[in-house]
Symmetry: C2
Subunit: 458 residues, 2 copies
Amino acid sequence: MAEDVAARLAEVVGAAHLLSGDAVPEDYAHDEELTGEPRRPGYVAKPATAEEVAGLLRVATEHGVPVTARGSGTGLSGAARPRPDGLLVSFERMNAVLEVDTGNHVAVVQPGVTLSELDARTAEAGLQYTVYPGELSASVGGNVGSNAGGMRAVRYGVTRHNVLGLQAVLGTGEIIRTGGRITKISSGYDLTQLIIGSEGTLALVTEVIVRLHPRLAHGATVLAPFTDLDRVLAAVPRIVASGLAPTILEYIDNLTMAAITHTAQLALGVPDEVREASQSYLVVGMENRDADRLHADIEVLGELLGELGAADVYVLDGGSARKLIEAREKAFWTAKAAGADDVIDVVVPRSAMAQFLGAARAAGHRREAGVIGCGHAGDGNVHLAIFCKDPDVRRELLHEIFAEGVELGGAISGEHGIGRAKREHFLELEDPVKIELMRRIKRSFDPVGILNPGVLLT
Amino acid sequence: MAEDVAARLAEVVGAAHLLSGDAVPEDYAHDEELTGEPRRPGYVAKPATAEEVAGLLRVATEHGVPVTARGSGTGLSGAARPRPDGLLVSFERMNAVLEVDTGNHVAVVQPGVTLSELDARTAEAGLQYTVYPGELSASVGGNVGSNAGGMRAVRYGVTRHNVLGLQAVLGTGEIIRTGGRITKISSGYDLTQLIIGSEGTLALVTEVIVRLHPRLAHGATVLAPFTDLDRVLAAVPRIVASGLAPTILEYIDNLTMAAITHTAQLALGVPDEVREASQSYLVVGMENRDADRLHADIEVLGELLGELGAADVYVLDGGSARKLIEAREKAFWTAKAAGADDVIDVVVPRSAMAQFLGAARAAGHRREAGVIGCGHAGDGNVHLAIFCKDPDVRRELLHEIFAEGVELGGAISGEHGIGRAKREHFLELEDPVKIELMRRIKRSFDPVGILNPGVLLT
Ligand SMILES: Cc1cc2nc3c(=O)[nH]c(=O)nc-3n(C[C@H](O)[C@H](O)[C@H](O)COP(=O)(O)OP(=O)(O)OC[C@H]3O[C@@H](n4cnc5c(N)ncnc54)[C@H](O)[C@@H]3O)c2cc1C
Ligand SMILES: Cc1cc2nc3c(=O)[nH]c(=O)nc-3n(C[C@H](O)[C@H](O)[C@H](O)COP(=O)(O)OP(=O)(O)OC[C@H]3O[C@@H](n4cnc5c(N)ncnc54)[C@H](O)[C@@H]3O)c2cc1C
């Protein structure tokens, strides 16, 4: 039976592009979720076209094989972790930038293209795809799957705001195209938006039209230490309201700052006494097409930060600015190396961040668990590393933190997704009416339920 | 039976808020669609709460009564035109601004609030809801229904990009809340985005969280006549690429310009010889929080327009700028008064506008029909008034124009919606696989099919 399936799948993609059994490398058994056990899939197929993807789904339907899509496997929710009896569809061969269309400010790409490759290609045209999750080996298809965000979302929005159209294969094996090289459309339900963030449970994406923005020639990074965390969080809405439109607006707590600068061997020029008195930092990235305007804005920002209670304000030079941003991007690896037991990314209304963080830290404190982190403060998106070995206590702690976030009008995940890792919490905390509605919507795309079972809903 | 239904509906909203039979004023029999015959609904109910809306839907389900939602009835697609046997749910009593939340830059509103009311309320806080369709008596619920756009969409996006959360009642009578006071979320399917643009066919919206932006203190409007239409359209992508980020980027053809300035009795200071040689105009709105930057940008824009072939460049003074924008907003009324037989708003990739317009005008020419207009050029959204009395010829002409738009990678409607007016064309031109998928999605929300039958899909 398994051999029969393997033979059928190999017929679709060619024997060279189908792995099964022990021939499947360990890397395909997981994504970057910290808590899930790696699970080698029954089969890995590497299709080259949408038609091949459709062929794979037809075989999977016929044999009842669960299907998991995989981009680069850098996701943090376990949504690309396959089932042992399942088929992993890896998009690594569908990795071309098909077109950079400067007239319409879009790029047309295959889903497996990495962000670094797309960044290089758009740079040639003076344009950029502005979704920058910390990990540039991630794929555009993975961005679509998780509705990825990253540091620049405060200015440019998340994946949802930067994807204009898709080609996708439904669970039924039917191929559709949605949206286009257009920024607005009012002609039927928005299937593009519905598929974005669906974590491979509605359709497999085989082509993506992404929106591009001009690259701005001049940039600077400002670092402001604050003596207390509440003040840094209270500063955030004021900076957003200022109209300075930062491209980056991050908070980093002192433990996280110590860890990431230590790992990166990065000296930021903050004097010892300021550093020792600082509970938290704000990192503000500014960009402008005009150097004079940039400098004028940085001055306004500096004054504003002073008024808002910053202990000091540092305009970092190019080298250390880049290194600090890179160190922030690698915060996940630092947390992992430090032994973090989980990493979460609750989103709450910007003005509720202080209350949320206070509650989350208190919940950790009561259980002698570490709750430290940083976050896309401009978006109210708080990234916390959880240090708590006992899985039952951790479960309870996470539940309390997620419930607090939801209670404050937020959601369990701002950008990483629910996946396998947070599914149980999601099903407990989300309105059952909406869960049932989402299940019906899923059946509209995937009547037999072959797409990523165990993720999000089921 | 009808009396029984009326009694049941009156129980839900109170007798004072239920009209039926001859007591229904004519205004409820139509929206602003040019082609459809007015049809007085069986009942008009004016609920005050989400619970009352749910109660109405339960009665409607029980008695198989089709339900149409109505905001202000300014829509152009016939989507708020009720069925003679149906219930019109008017949101005129649910018209409060519940909160302007400056910390999170959002407003929480009831769906029946008009754009002018919301504009006044947000102005007090120095903020703005940036969706400005030409008609400010329109409601926010209607914006959500049609995914309205308007002139400022080139900078701020359409309704879809400015609505963060909803309260809505499904066809089943269940009440849900989606999204929140947050700009990103990756926790399940995006129901907010799915409901936006669904023209009252999936759910009735009972509360809306809209995103607000800072009001910019300084603004100017630039008018540039061009001797040929292709050149004006070719200029558009260049202006978008310039990074000047205009708030308005409209093209207006010479006939339309003559008509709207005549109606508004507006003298723009364009000398006769320039006006006579001009085929088309570009109107560019610029705003900035800083007056010096605004002026510098206008200078750059002026030079760029010169390079791109503008016959001349006029920076309009405040009074005539405002009047020109108002006249452009009223283009629909001007077209209607001039006897236009239909008004359409095809969207195509920005770089394909010239080709699209050429084909549309040629298609009109072959049938001795008038095809003139203006459009949100920055978005590739072309608004055309169609002068063609014979309904069969007109149908054929529209079909050809829509097919051309779709062929070029666009869609039948960029912001007005499909409604009743364009449904037949939509069903003919859209991929049947997507139509069937949308029908299944609709059934997930509205299993019995009471919500706006005859609109969009069915
Ligand atoms: C160091 C580090 C930092 C990170 N920082 C951020 C951050 O700041 N912001 C952020 O949002 N994320 C961040 N991430 C998470 C991750 O990079 C993003 O979620 C990214 O979008 C995943 O891309 P991927 O190609 O690795 O996807 P994968 O992990 O392969 O897959 C992610 C999801 O998308 C689905 N999928 C993949 N391809 C397709 C397809 N073609 N069709 C349908 N579904 C598909 C998968 O099934 C899965 O559900 C970080 C990760 C790391 C390791
Ligand atoms: C002069 C003029 C200029 C215009 N210019 C533009 C323009 O530039 N751009 C643009 O996009 N539009 C434009 N329009 C069209 C119109 O103003 C917009 O579509 C507006 O959003 C309609 O709002 P309304 O309250 O009048 O909606 P209605 O006409 O009452 O309804 C529109 C749709 O929304 C649904 N709906 C209404 N309320 C709800 C609710 N609470 N829950 C669920 N569904 C609901 C209705 O069923 C219908 O499908 C213009 C119209 C006119 C008359």
